[in-house]
């Protein structure tokens, strides 16, 4: 079976996200002053051959831990779509 596995990676909450800050400034310039905070992360989808959704999720987690995310600065969530 081929599963689509989604890995969402975000900068750790305690870290300054300069990219998010720049986007927040852009939104304010647009007139969307109601937006009070922006964090920018990554959304990575993987096509995974696996016997079960659990196995696919495990492979996604392994990919995230070893390469896709850096735990020093980011956290991630893995979902099988």
């Amino acid at each position: 079976m081929s599963y689509t596995v989604q890995v969402v990676i975000m900068p750790l909450k305690e870290l300054l996200d300069p990219q998010g800050k720049a986007v927040l400034g852009g939104l304010a310039n647009l007139g969307l002053g109601a937006v009070t905070d922006v964090r920018v992360g990554k959304n990575i989808t993987l096509q995974v051959d696996a016997a079960s959704p659990e196995e696919a999720k495990g492979i996604g987690e392994q990919a995230a831990k070893q390469l896709l995310a850096n735990a020093v600065m980011e956290y991630f969530e893995v979902t099988v779509l």
């Binding site: 870290l15 300054l16 996200d17 300069p18 990219q19 800050k21 720049a22 390469l67 896709l68 850096n70 020093v72 600065m73």
Partner: protein
Amino acid sequence: MKFGVVVFPGSNCDRDMLDALQYDLNQEVVPLWHKSEDISAFTTEDCIVLPGGFSYGDYLRCGAIARFSPIMKQVIAFANDGGKVYGVCNGFQILCESGLLPGALLRNERQQYICKNIFIKAEGSYKEQLKEDAGRFQGVYKIPVAHGEGRFYADPATLEALKANGQILFRYCDATGKETPESNPNGAIDNIAGISNAQRNVFGMMPHPERACSAVLGNEDGKKILTSLLMARQLVS
């Protein structure tokens, strides 16, 4: 002692490093293609250098993909055996990604790519170790930086360990040696510009000493740093 400079796809300071080591420091130095898996010509007396640049286009995170280049397995084993490994800029990012150095390099606080001369000073045990060079190393050095992701970060426990073990090599400062927020180009935690591992055989720094090694370039401060850091027998704790 000889040097090997690893060339990744997207490295762009490899030639500067080769040139500085060969012609300004008169060392034996060879380029090492990242696909090579054989660095058996190097002993623990030697030094492997990871140069600056944009390995793999900085895709995913700076240094994240280069860390899995074929040669890195050998470089990590070499470092674990006690060989000297030195990373500048993207090389520093690769060392952090590979786990040879603690912490990470985040996007600059002020959201800009910075390319300019800054001042750094040697710190702690490094300064102490080189006290015979006191005339040079208790001073302040003008070295260029060129990076978009140079904000050193480590969690509080790691930072404490870095301080306790004297692993902080360089801090950003002003021309008189004062650490000020203005002299910190990227928002690095505690003005940290360079660190070593606990064993003191792996070094990483964001500034580029190899770009400041020749009178023709108007700045030789980098030569002092490369000479003392890489050619000292061993930095002690």
